[in-house]
Structures are given as C-alpha cells and as structure tokens.
Assembly symmetry: C2
Homo-oligomer: 401 residues x 2
C-alpha cells in the first residue's frame, strides 16, 4: 500500500448505496489458494490443467498473427467478431435454437452476461427468482444491483417448478435465473418435463428466463436434454454459455443468445462495459469452431472428467463416514455433499485448509441462509490419484468434527 498522507477523501460518503455491501468474496479466496501447490482445492471450478489443447492453440494463434495480424490487434465491434458470431449461431441452430447471427453477442465470459442482465433489468428491490442453492456469482451480481431473491428449492430433478406459480402470482418478477444442466453447485439437471413446465409458466406470466448453460456440453452419461432456449418458441429465454469449460477459461470468451427485441440494449450495455471482448481470444475460439476442433476436444475432456467424477464417487464411498451423502451428476464439474445436519461446513473449513484440502461451504450458495451442513466439490481439476488423496484428507476432517 502507499505511504500517502491521510486521505483528502471520505470515500464511504462518495460511494453508491449498491457498493456498500461489498466484501472479500469466496471466489477470490478460492483463486488465492491456487498459490499453495500443496493444497488440493476442490473449491474452484477449474478445468483440468493437463487437458488444454496447447499445440492447437499455438498453431492457430501463430497463423492468425502471421496472416491477419492487424485485424486481430485493432479495435473491433461490440457485438463480437462476426465470423465467430456466425459459427455460434450455426452451432446452436443445430441444437434446435431458433436464432440467427443477429441474436448472438460475444461476451467476456458468461459472467459478463450475468452482469449485463443485472445492469439492464435490476433496480433496488426488484424480485429475481432462482433455485437455491445457486451459482455464487449470480447471487453476488444480482445482490449488487440490489435485487431481492425469491428462492425455489431444488430436488434431485432440479428446480421445483411446481412451486413457481404461487411465487409468480404474488410478485412482480424481473426474471427467473436458472442453470438447468449440471447446475452449479449441485451438478443436478432439470428434467425434460420440468423444462416444458418452466417455459409454459414463464410464458403464462410473461416472465423472462435467464438460462445459464456453462456446463451443458460436458455430459458423461445419459441422454442429452435440450436447453430451454431450444424449446423456446416465444422468445422468453436469454441464453448464456461460454468456452471457459470447453476450451479455456483464461481466454474469457462467452456468448449470449437473446431475443431480437433485446439485442440493441445488450450491445449498448456491452459497449459501455468494455467496448468489446479481446479479439485474439475470440479468434482462437473461432478457429476451433471453423476447423471442427472443438467437439473432438470436448470428447477428450468428457472422457477425462467422467473418470475423475467416478474416482471421486469411489473415494467418497471409501473414506467418508456414514451419514454423508452426495449428488450424482451425469456431467459438469461439481457435486454436492451433505454432511449430518448438525455439522457446519463454514466452521470446519480452516481445519480442512490445515489438512491441505479446500472446498466451498454450502452456505455460499444461498441468498438468505441455508446449506450450512453442505459443501461443493469440484472433480475436474485433478487426476484420479490426487482426487483420492484429497477426499481422504477431507474425510479425516469430517470424522473428527
């Protein structure tokens, strides 16, 4: 820190009300743990370190800078690199989305999509419906825009859609935020029947759905389910996803697919947020799509992650004491562990760090309390033997708590 004289500014008095509640977040704690290589962190949502397609990324990057360098380094359009938007539109049309290139905007990770939605929709006190537990960053972002949360519980088939009509009847809701497939933090997936019900209810009440599909392409078992956007015939769904889990998170390239009526607003919000997403990363992603390199790469990841998930299942079965249960995700990168009711996963985190293992306490994923006996584990970041070691460490902490 600087050695400046006492500040001339009373910063607190200058900040907006929305900035008042900010605090050091779990997300950053997770990132800082990366600095200690001895800690096995099941906390973050990191893709496998050893599976990045480095040679291919090197090859296309070199070619781009050699053959089209100036356009790769110059300013570009806020909507995103046009050939990438075209590839994205084509890719999603094949999955049943009724979209054209005009419905596609490139964002700096799907997280930026969540922020842009918050920015455009939310004022102090506005109601957002979400299943709980839910994605921590979504909670933080919508909280920042001073939303209030109307929570719907989850069961093994995802959000309890049967609870929605009662909530929508009594409240003016800005949107329903949902991660229907391999949800963060539980790994659970909304059933097909519930997907149809959700769309029908959202249309009936005229409430938009914000669909976050960051993990949907990482399916290990079972039949693929259509994203909500693929079932959306009346333009109710704002869809977002990213290439963070399928190619590289460090590139920060995500997508929003939205109804035409919203695109001008989204593009303007994007323009004032960062003008456009970094071009070189956009073009690396574009080359992977254009050359049909992404899907084979996803197959490799899925193979590896399936083994890692299974290794975690096996290790938990072997090491965890009775009374501990866990979700059974068919894909994604997370699973959800419930300890006996009286245990407090916030309280035992320091003990876990002392044993050189990290998780995220369940309470992080609840807007208004809950999940105190639960925790989230990531299974994509380590090889099978490290997963076994980490779970053994965690089991030790649980047993003595």
């Amino acid at each position: 820190m600087t050695t400046q004289s006492p500040s001339a500014i009373d910063w607190e008095s200058k900040l907006a009300e929305r900035a008042g509640g900010l605090y050091g977040s779990m997300t950053r704690k997770l990132m800082s743990v990366l600095a200690d290589p001895e800690i096995i962190s099941f906390g973050g949502g990191l893709p496998a370190w050893d599976l990045f397609p480095l040679d291919k990324i090197r090859e296309v990057t070199d070619e781009l800078l050699r053959t089209d360098g100036p356009l790769t380094l110059q300013y570009s359009t806020s909507e995103g690199f046009l050939p990438l938007r075209e590839q994205v539109a084509t890719r999603y049309r094949k999955r049943g989305f009724d979209v054209s290139v005009d419905n596609v905007m490139i964002v700096t990770g799907a997280m930026q999509g969540i922020d842009l939605v918050g920015k455009l929709f939310l004022e102090k006190g506005d109601a957002v419906v979400l299943g709980e537990p839910t994605f921590l960053t979504a909670l933080q972002t919508f909280s920042f825009y001073q939303a209030r949360f109307l929570s719907v519980p989850l069961d093994e088939h995802g959000m309890r859609i049967d609870r929605l009509p009662e909530i929508l009847e009594g409240n003016d809701v800005k949107f329903i935020y949902i991660m229907p497939t391999f949800q963060n933090p539980t790994g659970r997936t909304l059933s097909l029947e519930r997907r149809h019900q959700l769309l029908e209810i959202a249309e009936r009440y005229g409430v938009p759905i914000v669909e976050d599909d960051a993990y949907g392409e990482l399916r290990f078992d079972g039949d693929p389910l259509p994203p909500l956007k693929a079932l959306d015939t009346r333009g109710s769904v704002i869809y977002m996803s990213s290439f963070s889990k399928t190619l590289s998170p460090g590139l920060r390239v995500g997508v929003i697919l939205a109804p035409g009526a919203l695109m001008e607003k989204l593009v303007f919000a994007k323009q004032i947020a960062d003008l456009h997403t970094s071009v070189l990363p956009q073009r690396i992603v574009h080359e992977f799509l254009r050359r049909d390199w992404l899907d084979p790469h996803i197959c490799r990841i899925v193979e590896a992650y399936r083994k890692r998930r299974d290794a975690m299942f096996a290790a938990m079965k072997k090491h965890f004491p009775p009374g501990v249960s866990w979700s059974r995700p068919e894909g994604g990168i997370f699973l959800w562990v419930a300890l006996p009711k009286e245990m407090d996963t916030d309280a035992i985190l320091d003990g876990a760090l002392a044993e050189k293992v990290m998780y995220v306490p369940g309470s992080c994923y609840y807007g208004a309390g809950g999940g105190t006996n639960a925790l989230r584990l990531n299974f994509s970041g380590y090889t099978e033997d490290r997963i076994n070691v980490g779970i053994e460490r965690l089991a030790k902490v649980i047993k003595r708590s």
Copy 2:
C-alpha cells in the same frame, strides 16, 4: 432475426429505468464504417494499422504458450496477472506515482475502468463534474448510471479550473472526471499550473478526481507534464490508462491505479463484471514491459503520429475554406475543428459519408447540447497521403454546405 411467434414477454416493462435511454450509439456507427474500405474514417480513434509490432507479439505469444501454456489458459485472479501488476507499479513509480502493486488492478481496457467507477459511485441524480466537450463513452457510461453533469468549459489550456470552486460550493459532487493530457476529443492539455490548482481544489472540497490518461504517453512536441496522480499526495486520484493506444486496442488491456481504501471495492466490482481480464493479452503486455520493448515501440508510434498530425495540419491549411479553425495538440490522436458558427456538423455527416469520409460531430461530446459547429478528427489511422485525400474530401463537403 428469428422467426419466432409474438413474444411472450413485454421487455420494456421488465427493464430497469437506467436501460430506458439506450440508443444506437455513434461509437458503434464508427465501428461499422470500418466495413467499407473506401471510406477514410477520421471518426474512430484507431491506432495505426501498419504499426502493430506483429513479429514481437507473435514471438512472445508462441513462447508463452510453449513454456507456460496452462497458466496462460487457466482462470486467474480478478486483480490481474501479478507480474504485470508489478511491472505497471514500477513503471508508474518511475513517473512519480506513490503506488505499490496493491494499488494496481488490470481491467479490460480503460473503458472498463470508467464503467467500474460509474458502478461504484453513481446513483440516479448524482452530480459528476466534467469538462465539455468530453469523451463520449464517459458521457454514455455516467448517463447510464443516471448521473447529472455539471459542465466546465475548456479553453486552449484545458478545463477552466477557475470555474470549479463555484460548482463545488453549490453541489454535492461524486467526482471530477478529466482527461488532462491530449484530451479526447480536442487534443488539448491541462497546463501544469491548472493541475496543481485542480488537486488543491479537489482536496479542499474532498472530491475525488477520476483521471483518464489514455493518450498521455503519445507526446510529439513540448515537455512532458506529470499526470495528476503523480502530484497526488493525499490519495484523491483514481487513475486509469490502457495499452490500447501504445500497443494494441484489440487486446483490451487497461489499468486502474487507485488509493488503497478503494481497491477492495474495485476488485469486487471487477470480479462480478468479468472475473478477470483475458490472461493471454495480459501476458503479452507483461512481456513487452519485462523485455523493455514497449518504450521503443512507443517512440516509433510517436514518430509516425507526429508526421500524420503535421500532414493533417498541412492538408487542413491547404484545403479548408476561411473561417475554419482547429486545435493544435502536442500529442495524442485527435484534433478538434470548429466550422463557422452557423454550420451543423450533424447535418452534413451524410454528405461526408457520400464523399467517403467520416468524422464525429461535435455534439456527441456534450452532455447538454453544444458543439454543433465542431467536429473531431483522428489523425493516427492513416498514412500522410490518405490523410490529405480525406481532408480534401471533407473540405469539399464543408465548402458546399
């Protein structure tokens, strides 16, 4: 656009009030003009197409992916890539800034810095002081957060600081936004005397200064002036700059240097905005700093831009009719042209586009009207002969209007 049935959603009713006033912006019009290679656009703020250090960027990118690929592609910290932050802190300490690495955050272009400041500080009706004309994106961003503007006129020495006390006396001001050096859009520079006065006044009234120094390193003539942050002994200045004009705008790498008391808030706002800036671009910038490649490159740019500015001065002198005057910037990439008072630069823009030349009408840079007879010209984007052709085209439009 999609062929969907009538939307189930009344989007207007769902949007936040702040999203109501969005509109297709001049910034995006400028970008879309890039698609027509026949148009000579003095409108955008594009660095020279022919001066990107392509071979060096290729070299470091290849090396990074070869020797440290996984860390380049994995998630990183919201503060930014630590070795880059260290290089940035060192660089600015050499320029007299009282900062450490803890005062540095990497952002997705300085524009993101402006957005984060808006997000943290501004609520509906809050007062922001700025010189007019001023940077269009700053106006748009602060307008989005529903600020009201208290304008200070500019003269040839920049913002009329003598007007400030009266404004600060009568208003509760959130911050003063200023681009003191080679200001966008006029190219004008705040004098040293006024820099000291501005700091003294800001301290006296306890009002933060947001210093935008996107162009400060591009000086062709005259002596360098210290940024406000270099004179700031009491932590009143939030400083932002970027590598867009000195290395590549497409990379989207900028910096914020802020007082320690603000850093936690800024980092949290950054985290929920896009988690972190794309790592590969950050590391390319870092390599340029670490290898001492940036300053020699800036020297090359400055040489070229000086010639281009001089070519524009010469062409304007040769082709423009009497009654047209222009600013005389000692650096940067923009200058400001005043046509005779009765002329309307918004009205003649279509005529200019028909002649295949583009500028930005002066009115864009005023929050509450003004500049209707002025226009902004960029001189960095074209070689001298093209600049002459473009100015000749523009002169033709002016003469017949």
